[in-house]
Each structure stands twice: as C-alpha cells, then as structure tokens.
Amino acid sequence: MRDGIKRRDFLKVLGASGAGAGLVGCSTEDVERLLPYVVPPEEITPGVATWYASVCGECAAGCGIWVRTREGRAVKIEGNPAHPVAHGGLCSRGHASLQGLYNPDRFAGPMVRDGASLRQISWEEAEGMLAARLQSAGGDVLLLHGRAGPTLRDVMDSFVTAAGGTRVEFDGLADEPLREAARIALGRDVIPVFDFESARFVVSFGADFLDTWLSPAGNGRGFARMSGVDDHGSKGEFVFVGPRLSLTGLNADEWVPINPGSEGLVALAMANVIAADGAGAGPYADVLSAHDPSTVAGATGISAETIEDLANRFVANAPSLAVGPGVAGQHRGATAANLAVLVLNAVAGNVGRTLHVQGGGQSSPSGSYARVEAAIAAMSSGSVGVAMVHGVNPAYSLPTASGFAGAFGGVGFKVSFASAMDETAALADLILPDAHTLEAWGDSNPRPGVFAIQQPVMQPVPHFDSKATGDVLLSASAAAGRDLGAANMQDHVRARWGQLHEASGAAQPFDDWWRASLKAGVVEVPLATTAEAVTLRSPDAALTFDAPALDGDGEFTLLVYPSPRFGDGEHSNRPWLLELPDPVSKITWHSWLEIHPDAAAGLGLRNGDIVTVSSPHGSLEVPVWTYPGVRADTVALAMGGGHDDFGRYATGHGVNAMALLPAEAEQLSGGLVRLGTRVAVTPTGTHRRLATIEGSDSQSNRPIAPAVALADLGHAEEEGAEEGGHGQHMEIQEGGGFVPVPTDGLPQDYPLAGQEYGGYADDHPRWAMAIDLDKCTGCSACVVACQSENNVPWVGEDQVLMGRDMGWMRIERYYDHVDATHAGHLDVRFLPMLCQHCNNAPCEPVCPVFAAYHTPDGLNGQVYNRCVGTRYCANNCPYKVRVFNWYRYTDQIPEPMNWQFNPDVTVRDNGVMEKCSFCVQRIRESQNRAVLEGREVHDGEVVPACQQSCPAEAIVFGNIKDSSSRVARVSENERTYRVFDAFINTQPAVTYLKKVTFHEVSDGGHG
C-alpha cells in the first residue's frame, strides 16, 4: 500500500471540514437559545399582529387606544376610533407612551435606600418593609398621587382609610379654577365638556386646548371639524385672546393680544355688550354692568371697539363657545376669570349647546395645590410618619419655593412608586416601581358616561421587576391584616365594572358584556338627564375680576405654560418627544425663553443668546428665542425642561420654569398660581445654539402653503391662475423637444400621457394622499406616529444642531401675519411635509444604483439594501424630505427600547438614505389580506400612521385612480394644489387643500 491519504480518509476529512465550515458559517453565539415555541402562546401567530384595546395613561384626557403587539411586544399605539374622547386621534405624548413602557431608565426592581445609594431587593422584602412601616406609623400616612382611574382611586381610598392617613391628589395640568368656577356659577363640581365641533365661533381666552388643555386630541378633532371649511363654503371662526400664541393660538383667525391676566375683564365686557340689559346674566347682572368695554379697555390693553366687535360676532355667529383662561393663565384671580368666561357663555346661550355640565356621574377628584400645600406643612411639622408618592413628581413639578423637597426629605419613611428615577424618587427610602399603564389593570372615566378598561397589552417588560401600585397597596394592606376586598387590581376592576354593568342596563350577561367591553375598549352609559336646567347661580364666594397682582418689578410678565410635548415634565425622558420639534418654536431638546423680537432688539438679543431670568422667587439662565407671537411685555417659558435626575435623556436638557414661580395657591380653587410674577431679563453675553429644524419662517414668495380667502371660494378660475395650477411657466417648455405633460394628478389624468415607465398600468392603483391645510393644526402627532411606525431613530441634540434630524415628516410653520401690538387678523400656515411620491420624481433618475425607483403603484420606493449613499437623491429632492443615516443611529438605542421596533419595517443601516414610504408595509399588508380573502382592497382600508393619528382628520389616503375613492373626491376641490408642481412639474401624489382665511390673502404666491 502506498503512503499518503487514502480515499476514505480524504472523504472523511472533506466531510468533517465541510460540516465544520457549515457550522461556523451559520452559527451565532446564541444558537442554543433559538428554541421554537414548545407550547405556543395563545393568540400569537408569528408575523401577525394582535391588537388590544386599552386607555392612554399619559394625561387626564383618557383617550381610548388600540395597541398593536407583535410576538407579545407592544410596538405601536393608535387611537381607538370607537372611543368618544378622541375618536381615533392620538397626540404625540400618547404615541410616546411606548417609550415610557420600554424606558431603559425604569427601575430593575424594588429599591431600598442604603446610605447614599439604592440597593435592589425582592418584592417580598420590599412589601414586608412597607407593611412594617405602615404598622409603626400608626395612622400618619400621606399618599400623594397624580392621575388615577376610578378603581385605583377607590383602592387608594380604602388603603388610606385602613392605614389611617390622608390621600392627596394633584395633577399639574388639571384646571382646578375651571372646576371651581363651574361649581360657583353653574352649581356643578365638574369640568365642563366643551363641544368645539358644534360651535361656529370660538374664543379662547388663553386656553391651550390643542396643546395640553383638558383633552387636546379630542379638542383637536372638534376644532378641526368646526374651523375646516365645509362643502358649502362655510367655516367656523376662532379668535385667540391672550398675551402669547400657543399652538392653539397659532391656529386662530384673529389674535387679540391682551394684557396678561385680563381675560376675565374682556369676557365680562363682552358679556356686558351681549346682555346690555343684564338679561340672561342672572345674579351677575351687576357685575356685568360694572364692566363695560370702555371701563376695562385700559386694563386689557385693547380698545373698547375691539371688545364690542368681538361680542357682536360672538352672538351673531351662534352657537359660539368661549374657553379659558386655561392652565398657563392660572393667576391669583383665575377662578373669577374662569367664571367670567362661563358667564359669557351663559349670556350668549351656549350652556347646554356647546358647553355641557350635565351629569354628575364623574367621581370628583379632590385635588388641588392648596391640599398639597397642607401636606407639605404636615410633613414639615413632623406629623407624617410614612409619605408615599405615586404618579407625580412634586420635587420637580412644584415651584421650588414650595419647599416640597425639604419637607418630604424630612419625613421618617418615604416611599415612591415611580417606575423610573425622578427627582422625588431620588429622595425616597423605598422605591416600589409601578407597572406601566400598558402592563397593568385599571380603568378610566374621562367624562360622565364614558368608561374604559385599561387592559394590560403585554406581559410586563422582563427587564423591570415592577408591580402595579394597586396590587402593592392591596397586598400591603393584606399583610397588615386589613382586607380591602379582592386580592388584585384585575378583580377590583371587574368588581367595579360589575356595578357598571348593572347601571348600564345591558341585556348581556356580565361575562359576555365584560369581554365585549374589553374588545371594544369603551362603554358608554347613558346619562340620567336631569330636568333641572343649568342656570347661573349666585356666587357663594367673593369674586374680584381685576387684573391680578404680580410679584416683583421686573420688566416682563412671566408666562409659564405646559409643554405640548412634555406636559408638566412627566414625559421629558422620552427621546421621541425631546426630538419632536416643538409645534410652535420648532426647537428640540433644550428650553428657550420666548421673547418678542422688539423686546429682544431692545436688549440686544438674538436667537440663542443666554439670559438670566430672575423673579423674586428664583432665577435661571436660558437661551432666548424671538417670537412675534408673544407680547413685547411678556416672556414665556415652557414647563418640562431642566430635570436633574430623570433618566438619561431628560437630564441636563433645558431649564425648570418652576424655579421662578411663587408657591401659592389661588384663593378660591386652590390651584397653583402660574401667572404670578414679573421677571427681569438680563443678557449674560453667552450663547447657545438652538437645535431647531427651521430653516426659515417665511415662505419667501413661494406658493408652498398658499391660502385662499373665504370670500374668494367659488371663484376658482382666477384663483387657480394665481396660485395653484399650471400657469405661464408651461408655455416656455412646450416649445422645446421634451414636453413634460402637465397633469393635476386627478383620476381622469391616469394613465399619464407620456409615462411609459412606472406607467400605472390598469391593474395597479396609484396611491395618493390629500392633506387639508384648513384642518391641520400643526399638533405634530403624525410626526411621532410616523416615527413609531417606521422605526425612525432619534439622533440627539448635537446631530439636530448639525441639521441631521431624521423625521420622515415635518410640520413646516410659516408666519404670514403675526402682530402682537394690536388686535387683528392672524395668519400662520402649517404644512405637513413628507415624501410627495412624485410621478416625475427628481430623486429617481439620479440614483446610480436604482435604490430610488418607481413602483408600478406609484410609490417612490427606496431600497435600503441597494443604497450606496451618494445622497444625490436628497440633493435633487426639492421638498427635502429625504433623510440620511449619517451613523448607525439605532446602535444607540438601548435594551429594551428596541423592543418597540416594528418588525414589518427594516431598521436602516449606517450610510443609507431613507424617507416616507407611504407606510408601504401597511399597503402590502392590506393587499395581501385582500388577496387571501379574494377581494379588492377597500377604499380606506390602507391607513398610513400619520392619517390614523391625525386628530384633525386632515389626512386622507387612497387610490386616486379610483374616482369614487375618498382621496379622489377630496382632491377634486378648488382649493387643491401641489407644492412646486406648477414650475418644476414633479407631479406629486400629495395634494394639499389650501388654508381658508377670513381676511383677504395678500400673498399672490408665485409671480
């Protein structure tokens, strides 16, 4: 036999090395964990989403939500269309709830203070510790909590009663003066329900009802239906009366920039004009007669004629509605001011028409700053043995001057139920992290007759050993030998809903009704109609309507307003919201002080110059942002910035306005005084660049967001020649060799002449979108919805400063006419800008590798895997809607925040271009479902994330080749135009409907 390798050995070696190579090639380090489901969880089909109805827990509005879960993880929140609060709309904070659920800064488990640091312990140990402390405290228990559903509030009540102590409720955004005014004037201790939709003329005395006030998503829907022009060419009018234009203010047709704090006077003077003889004013006739327009004109800063004119239109355009002054306007006479507005509504006959106080079904939260003040006093005096805080962060959100931190710190045993670190938890001895609202049972009763179950939508996120506070209270009580009924929250909710089942008179057995309610997410119980008419009642308290006193003698009145992104600061640790451009200023991440350009010029300030703002109560340093929408004698600062200890994203960004405010409760309602001080503004000589996404606030004579005057509607021909359609510019091109075919993109234009490629052959739809700018309020909910749906990363302040924000949508905000010096018309244009999916897309021919290409159904596809990153497409995009992955931004997203990623959408790599896809994954999902069910895709079946979220119902999506589709019908409108189409013939698939104004439109658009 010869030496060397035998045939068999050779084959053995070959086989072994081949197998080895195969193993090396395929294996991952975690290969042993790749086990399939042995027992598959019920209701989970891999690749198919499961939806659960629940309730949004981010503010007191209590919007109904649907949560989309994939493989047991919540990935997207949408509004529940069946829920009567917002009818399917959801605001940016609601979407960002997912970043609270998956927030990497949540506590890993119960924590106990061990000297300066915290040590994690087990729930048994923690609950034992709590029970022992409650025993030894012997009745000196203080439970300070924020928003709570009815069942949780019941549980808290029984807990506090059993343990002996007090329960104090406090919600930073609650409008206590309004509730108190409703009680005084109308005899109902409830927050009235404002029906914007039914009104034809709305006056807001500073209430930010589209930003944060009461129920912004629901208000947004009603407001858009009121103010959007209807098919008959009629539209409701909105006048904003206040010193600063909030997002709400920017949507007004007219701005009356009154002196801060004089809302009540204006309302009374208007009521005086309306009820000249005192008729209808009931017990307030004397008050009205003392406040005629000429008397109050001086104090309000506007002329008597303006007030008279406003009053006359208020009655002439019935039904009307007046709201305000809202949370930012809570001053020392806030209850009186609210009452004045209610009186105005009453004399104009709006009570019962657009303003409802019917139904006493709502349990009455007994919260106010005055009660917190008392609790602070009790803690300071040492009469509190155990202080427990749930759902609020008073060490941050109360004025520094309140002394909460010191008083709380002095309590013997402090318990925090915060699920993630906050300034209050940082002082606590024991932290019992609460489950997120998406993980726990609860319920909600946002307004009389509306009930919803807060159902857990997924198993608790395993990274965090949390426990719902209701369950903790129940087990702590049980451990202390005090039985509070059912052992857990789920049973408590069921038990409570058992009573509701009886009250509702439903015919179904309870179990069926309960399941149906869980599925629907909401139950409406008819209200018992009281025969008693709601009339004005004599005041049982002393009211003064004069402009309130302000502390200090600074040059500017300080207006502190709840942030549309962060509320009072509880949402500040959510990168989606931090990077969401503020709807007004378009600034991200940091805080800014709004100051009128004239005032800024007087101080020699430019955008980003840092100033010291000092009130008698404190001072802080913040960069200024010049804003024509604030009076020259007022400066405004948003809440929500300047956290010291609130997680990795919030900490270090911005300033906390609470440092400047007095710690004072309004006399009548006990609400916190926010408009209470004057401040001095001193330049420091330093500068900080503001991370804004705004390149210019002027349209520069380009017809990007044109408008049409209401009076000109119906005169489409002249209008079209001026601003919209294809004017003289086409003539030049028609002489040449290549003749682009102008088209309006309407159903009859398909198939497009001259389009041979991507030519929308008969069997393909042409997806298109219509956006009604007369409805869009600029609230930016769509921006976060898009980010959530499409795995759009956030990039951080430094990257935004470099101009690298990744949003697939942006809400452009252009000033057309903003004048803070006197009452007059206001014209600010909002324009949601997203990929226009052009027929003649400039991005497509320039891509060297076909990464940008045209699908047969008209989409501008973007193949991420094919993109090499030349960025030519972005350079050539006139709309600048393409965004580039300068880094692998998703790398910085920590566990478990990446659990939120939508598995239907690719996570993009470093170096590729991306942009709006018209939610192509949803289109394909609908098409696949239609194929499986052997049918066509219905009109309205494909709903992109932005449209779904839009509270204003401004966005319509569908197949424009189908002339019966909604998008085609909406696009067949004289207000229709397409941005830049008239002179670069891009033929976008997004048609906009012009904003309609009451005043003459001065901008002729493109000349």
């Binding site: 996404i693 705004e694 390149g695 210019s696 002027s698 349209q699 520069s700 004579n701 380009r702 990007i704 990257q799 470099m802 101009g803 690298r804 924000d805 942006r810 452009e812 905000r813 252009y814 324009l831 800008m833 400039p842 021919p845 320039v846 891509c847 060297p848 590798v849 076909f850 094919r866 993109c867 090499v868 990153g869 030349t870 960025r871 030519y872 972005a874 350079n875 050539n876 006139p878 709309y879 600048k880 393409r882 965004v883 580039f884 992955n885 300068w886 880094y887 692998r888 790599d909 470093n910 170096g911 590729v912 271009m913 830049f980 002179f983 670069i984 493109h1006 000349g1007």
Partner: protein, 458 residues
C-alpha cells in the same frame, strides 16, 4: 538660401541649451540622490497620506457622520475636492495632447510634469467619489458587471456617467503618460546602475532608439494624443452634468459643460505653474523652462479666467432673467447670504487677480506668476465649494434651508489629498525625468559630426 536666415532649431524655446549631451546630463541629474529638502517634503507628504487614509478609515469605521454634511447639504468638501482635482487633471492632457497636435513649441519643457500631474490628479480625484459614499464597500455596484440578479446601474444617472468618464480618463492619460516616457526611461536606464537600472530595464520595454521604434512610437503617440484630446472636453462636461442634470437652483444650467471645461483648464494651468516654478528652481532647469514658457501659460490662464468670469456673469444674469423666484433667491444668497465670503473669494481670485496678466512685466515675473497661480488654485477650489454648497443650502423649501460647516475629518482628508498628490509627484521627480529628454532634443540642433565631441545620440 532661405535657411540662412533661419535660426537654429531650439533657439526659440531653449536658447541656452547647447547639446543633446547637456540635456541628458541636466535632466538625469535630477534622478540622482535626493537632498534633505526633498526628504523633508517627502516626509510631510507621506505623513499627509497617512492622515488621509487615517481620516478616511475613521470615517468608514464611525460613519460618514464624522463629516459635517447634513440635510440639505449632502455634498460638501469631498465633492468640491473631486471636481477640483478632476479640473487640475485637465490641463495636463491639454498641454500634452492638444498642444502636441497643434505643434505648440512651448509644450516640450512642461508637458512631462503636466502629464504626471494629470495622472496623479485623477488618482486623487478618483478617491473622492469613494470617500463621499455612505457605504463605500458597495461602491462596485456603480460598475456594470454581469450578476445573477440582473442588477445593473442606472444609466440615466450622471453619477454612472461619471464612473465611465473618470475611469476612461485615467486609463487613457496613464497610458499616454507611460508611452511618452519610454524613450526617456531608456535614457535613464543607460545612465543608471543597480536596482534602478533593473527598474528602468523593465519599464523601458527594451527601447533601443532604432528608426523603426521611433517610427512606431511617433504613430502611437499621435494616435493617443488624438484619443485623449476629446477627453479633455468630455470628462469635465460629464462631471459638470453631475450638477447640471439636477434640478437644484444654481446647478441646473446649460452653460455648465463649457463653463466647467474652461474652469478645469484654468485651474490646471494654474496648478502647472504652481508645480513647475519650484521644480525649475530646485533642479536648476532655468534653461529648459524659460520665461517664454511661462508667458504662454499665463496667457492661457488669462483667457480661461475670462471665460470662467463670463460664465459667472452669465449665471447671475440668467438667474435674474429667468424670473424664477427660487433661482433668483439662490443667486442672491450666493452673493450675500451665509457663504458670501466664499463667493467673493472665488470672484476675486478667479476674476480679478488674473487680470494682472495683461501686463507683460507680470507675465515675465516668475514670483508674480507663482503668487497668482496660488490665488487661482484657491479661487478654483472655492468656485466648486460655492457652486455645490451655496446652491444646496438655499433650495426650494425655505423651511429646510440649512448651513454646513466642514468637520475636522473633512479637513484632514482635504489636506491629505494634497499630500497624496504631492507624494506621487515627489516620487515622480526622482524616478522619471520630469522634463521630456527626447522631445527636448527634437527642438535642439542635432549633433553633427563637426560640432560635437561625442558624435552619437544617446
């Protein structure tokens, strides 16, 4: 006879060069042992090459976010450098090919350096499209190659045209350059010893200087010259279409192709002056590179400067005349907006400073020409910066306007690219005869038996 009044050959261009032997001696002396100065420069260049590849490597590792680019300014320093270096390359071909075809007598002394400059500038330019890619590891997708997925590049995209234009240009100019050096390599071979000799032996392809070889060489050279000539026009036209084919206000202009070609020649001649002045001084080539050569280059600069300036004026005029708001605003912002300074650097360096070349005294002053050529280099770099960056920063959508500031990484790559170019050029001066020996001899009086001691051509 008429010949009696003729000057001896070569007298016009090189009055001080006497003999073939002198040429060999002087030029080949450059290839000798380098001095300290060369080593110092070479060290700087080599360090710069490390800087270039270090910065680029860092960018590949970390992401192209380490540049200052953003939305809306997707192209900045990198594309500026790309077009700048492609432009530099052009005058080399112009001098070597076009002037060869036109038998311009001043080209012999400078064309070798100019041609080397062309090759190295294309080598530099060709890096930048790679540097600016988000995913450079997929750059080969721009090349049409058969593949199982039947994926081809998009032939409608000017960037694909660019790939063809630049690779063609590099191939042709490199071949042309190499072909022209063969007789000189043979001359160097004959003078060299040791390793160098081996190198030249291989690269000279066994050149013996026979009549047949010269015959073929001449034919090949003229064919390649003819082939390279249209490239001078086409390559930069294609490069200009990267911009002109877009709809960006400030880019979308029909004048771009001639405008860019003129600019390329302008910048290229400027760069030739910048390179040749020190070369002449260090290697004592005053006899070979005479004032007359510089005078001719200066005139070419003056001409192209005026063409370029005319193009600037045309752009502004057309922006105004078009009546387009967007176009007008773009040019208003070019002159008076955020980047006004770049625009004025461009106008002064390219439009005003070269006007001094009207004066013969300036054209005949080597230091003055050197200074002017530096201005031209700066101006032409900023010309591209102005076109790309200012047009992008102020486009259609006012809300999306933005500004861009180059990052340190970009600066490192910018500086590194000059060093990369210098690195090759310095090597060139020591390895290849920087002045064409053979062609110089063509214009010198031939060695005749009675007039020379050596009696034979090298």
């Amino acid at each position: 006879m008429a010949l009696a009044t003729e000057q001896p050959r070569g007298a016009l261009s090189h009055p001080d060069v006497q003999s073939y032997a002198e040429v060999n001696r002087d030029i080949l002396a450059i290839l000798g042992r380098p001095g300290l100065g060369w080593w110092a420069l070479f060290s700087v260049a080599a360090a710069g090459v490390l800087l270039f590849f270090g910065s680029w490597g860092w960018q590949i590792y970390a992401g192209i976010g380490v540049s200052g680019l953003n939305s809306p300014i997707g192209w900045g320093v990198y594309i500026t450098c790309f077009v700048f270096w492609v432009g530099i390359a052009h005058s080399g071909t112009l001098i070597s090919a076009i002037l060869f075809l036109f038998r311009a007598p001043f080209r012999q002394s400078i064309y070798r350096a100019a041609e080397a400059m062309t090759v190295f500038a294309v080598m530099t330019a060709g890096l930048f499209p790679l540097v600016h890619l988000g995913r450079v590891w997929h750059a080969y997708w721009l090349i049409p190659y058969p593949n199982s997925r039947f994926l081809w590049p998009n032939f409608r995209s000017p960037l694909v045209w660019d790939v063809f234009a630049v690779t063609t240009y590099f191939t042709v100019s490199a071949v042309f350059f190499y072909l022209g050096t063969i007789p000189d390599l043979a001359a160097a071979r004959d003078a060299a010893t040791g390793l160098r000799k081996k190198l030249y032996q291989v690269t000279a392809l066994g050149w013996r200087g026979t009549d047949r070889e010269w015959h073929h060489f001449g034919k090949a050279y003229i064919f390649l010259a003819a082939l390279a000539t249209p490239l001078v026009l086409s390559v930069h036209s294609v490069v200009s279409w990267d911009f002109a084919m877009s709809i960006v206000p400030g880019w979308h202009a029909t004048i771009f192709a001639p405008y860019f070609v003129a600019g390329a020649i302008f910048s290229g001649v400027g760069m030739v002056i910048t390179l040749v002045v020190p070369l002449r001084r260090v290697f004592h080539l005053e006899h070979y590179l005479t004032v007359k050569h510089f005078d001719a280059m200066a005139k070419l600069c003056l001409l192209t400067s005026m063409i370029v300036f005319y193009a600037y004026v045309t752009e502004y005029f057309m922006a105004w005349y078009s009546g387009e708001e967007v176009e007008r605003a773009a040019f208003w912002h070019r002159a008076f907006g955020h980047y006004w300074w770049a625009n004025w650097i461009m106008l002064i360096c390219n439009g005003m400073v070269p006007q001094m070349l009207w004066f013969k005294r300036v054209r005949h002053s080597i230091p003055a020409l050197f200074v002017i050529s530096i201005f031209i280099n700066i101006g032409m770099w900023f010309e591209r910066f102005v076109i790309f960056v200012t047009s992008l920063h102020h486009e259609y959508e006012p809300f999306a306007w933005g500004v861009y500031r180059p990052s340190l990484t970009e600066m490192g790559i910018l500086v590194g690219s000059f060093c990369w170019f210098g690195f090759w050029f310095l090597l060139f001066t020591r390895i290849l005869p920087p002045v064409a020996i053979a062609e110089l001899k063509e214009v010198l009086p031939p060695p005749l038996r009675g007039r020379t001691r050596e009696g034979a051509a090298s």
